[in-house]
Each structure stands twice: as C-alpha cells, then as structure tokens.
Amino acid sequence: MTRGVIIFWCAFLLLIVADYASLGHPRREPAPFALGSDRPFVGGHCSGR
C-alpha cells in the first residue's frame, strides 16, 4: 500500500507541475484575504457562480 501511496502522490504532483508549466509559468498575487479586499471572488464554486 505504501508503494501505491508514493506512486499516487508522484503522479499527482507531476500533473500539477505539468499544468502550471504548460501555461507558461504565470504569476499573480491577489490580496491574501478576500475579507477587506472589496473584490468578491467570481467563478469557481459548486453553487454555480
């Protein structure tokens, strides 16, 4: 089972890195907290927004 866990996490991390690299290493820095930022988050919730 431990070998399975290692394979799972290596594959998972590889996919995240590949995803990031394929988009040309973009960077952004939103406000650390949404509270007080005066900018509601749009898009990316199950409720359909």
């Binding site: 089972m1 431990t2 399975g4 866990v5 799972f8 996490w9 998972f12 995240i16 995803d19 990031y20 988009l23 290493h25 973009p26 960077r27 952004r28 820095e29 939103p30 406000a31 650390p32 907290f33 949404a34 509270l35 007080g36 930022s37 005066d38 900018r39 509601p40 988050f41 749009v42 898009g43 990316g44 919730h45 199950c46 409720s47 359909g48 927004r49």
Partner: protein, 368 residues
Amino acid sequence: VAGILATTWFAGLRAGFLLILGLGFGAALSAARFGFTTGWRDLLQHKDPWGMTGQMVLIALCAVLAFPLLVNHSDDIVGAVSPITWSLLIGALVFGFSMQLADGCGSGTLYKAGASSPISWVVLPAFIFGSFLGAAHQPAWVALGGPLEMAGLQAKAAPIDLIDEFGQQTALMLTLALCVLISVVSFLVAIRYTRRTGKSLPKIPQRWFWGAAFIALLYAAHLIVAGQPWGIVYGLGLWGAKIVSVLGVDLSQNAFWGAWPHNDRLHEPLLWDVTSVTNIGLLYGALIASRWNLRRFESKPWPAASTLLISIAAGLLMGYSSRLAFGCNVGAYLGGVASGSLHGWVWFVFAFIGSIYGVKARTKAAIT
C-alpha cells in the same frame, strides 16, 4: 512545508493559506472520521443518532460564524445561494443514493482517497469525470426550471435567501431551530428503537463533536480567505475538464466550460482555483492524519471486483449528480444552509431520501 511555500510562490499568499486550510480539513475529517455518508447510514441502519447530531452541530456552528460575515461583508464575501430547480431535486436524490454505494460523499471520497482507501482511489477518478460531464450538461438541466416556477410561485427559478427574506437574526434562529429539530427527531428514532429491541443507546463518540467544532472554525477561516464557502466538486470537475482538453476535446463551445468565468479557470493554473487548492490540501491532510494511526492505515485490503465496479459506477453518478444539485454535501448542503439558502435544506431532504434507497441497495449488493 515545501508544498505550502511552492504554492505561495507560484499562486500567491491566498493560495498558500487555502492549502493550509485544506490540510486542516483533511486532517480533521480523517482524524475525527467525520463522514456525512456514515452518519446517515448509522441512523438508518443502526438507529445511531450521533452522526446526524454531529452534522447538525457542524451546520449550526458554521451558520453562527458565517451569517454575520455574509451580512456585514457582502462586498467581498458571497454565500452559496442557488435556485430550487428540478436539477437540484433529481441531483440530490441520485447523489444521496450513490454516496451510500460509493461509501463516501464529496468530502468523504477525497479524505478517504487521501488516507489511502482503495475503494476511494477508484471512486475518485470516476467522480472527477462525472463532475466534468455534469457541469458540461448543467446549463441544460437548469433551463428545465423548477417546482416553484411550475406552481406559479416564482416567475423564473431563483434562489431563496433566508437572510434576505427574514433578516440575519430570524434566518439564524430558523436555521438553528431546524438543526435542533433534526437532532431531536434522530434521537427519538433511536430511543424508540432501544425500547423496542431492549438494546441500549450507543455511546456518544466525542470525535463527532470535536470534529464538528474544528471543521466549523476552518469553514469560517475559508470564508474569510477565499470570499466564498468551502466547496469540493467544482474543483474536481475542473480537473476533469483539463484532462479532457489535454486529450484534444474542444470545450470552447460548451455551454458551461466555454462560458465565462469557467473558461478562464480552464486556461489558468489549477493552483489559482480555490476549490482545487483546498482539495489538494485535503487529500494530503488526510494522508498525514491517517499516518498517525499506522496500523489502521496498513490494514486496508482491496475489495472484491464486484464492489469495485459498483463503486466506480456510483462515483460517476455522484460526480454527475453533484453538478446538477449545485454541489455535494459540502458545497450545497453545508455551504447552502450556512449561507441561509433554502436550496441547502432541499438538498438535505432529497439526498436523505436517496440515501434510504442507497442503504437498501448497499445491503442487497452485500457491500460491507
């Protein structure tokens, strides 16, 4: 620590904080073995009321913490408020049924996969593909309208926000009263069963209650950091959409994935997506928590092939239906109720009815 630093470096401080919160969710869910599926099944099968009561404590605490934030900071924090549509009713019913067969809801599947449960390892990919497909079809399902629209009570299926309707205090009292009512009914069911059978009431497992308290604190922190309630299935659907895109499928014309803001998410790194980052943290947090109990961690065997096949089908159904229902137990049920949205309670009723049949099907299929 390296993962948190890397996420912060590439996606900003907010993503770093969200990863930490995800780790907390995973550790709390795994360490407390806090499961919506098990709580409902314990009540239905063994007349054990404590899982359901623990969930109600969680929902009540989240509502107490979230309502003031939603009311006083509406410029930067939004709740999970969705309309009561046919898709919600059907989706919740199917989700409740299938989560019993898959032995895990949205959060349950993720934390069990993180904690290395073989069943959840096969359910998760099916859940991801189902979420992607369900999201792709969601606009068509939502266009069917809803029962209130059909009855002439609404011109168009629209969200019913209890905070807007009754004000913060009354909405909170209503929410807390419903939580108490459901806990009392669960307790009465258990008492009736013990009187009939002569068995004693199961002992109160403390894990349900400290788990609820810890998860509620994380829920409030997530609201402050992300500006939206904790969610799970949007991220899973996004993972599926990215995989399908890489395989050459053009989603630019799809009514969901081709439309703003979801097409933006599709062309941004996963680390910029709130639900994806908390999901990644949740998976790893569950692994860490499960490692504390090494014997339990090592003793999970692979189930029979028939159980695996049923679980894969259930995972697919769960993913698809959760997108019709505006989320799973976390995004729609917990997030909806703790946002004052009536759709959260409707989700609960229909998912619970689905679970009644799911538990029966589980027994018939001899899934242990």
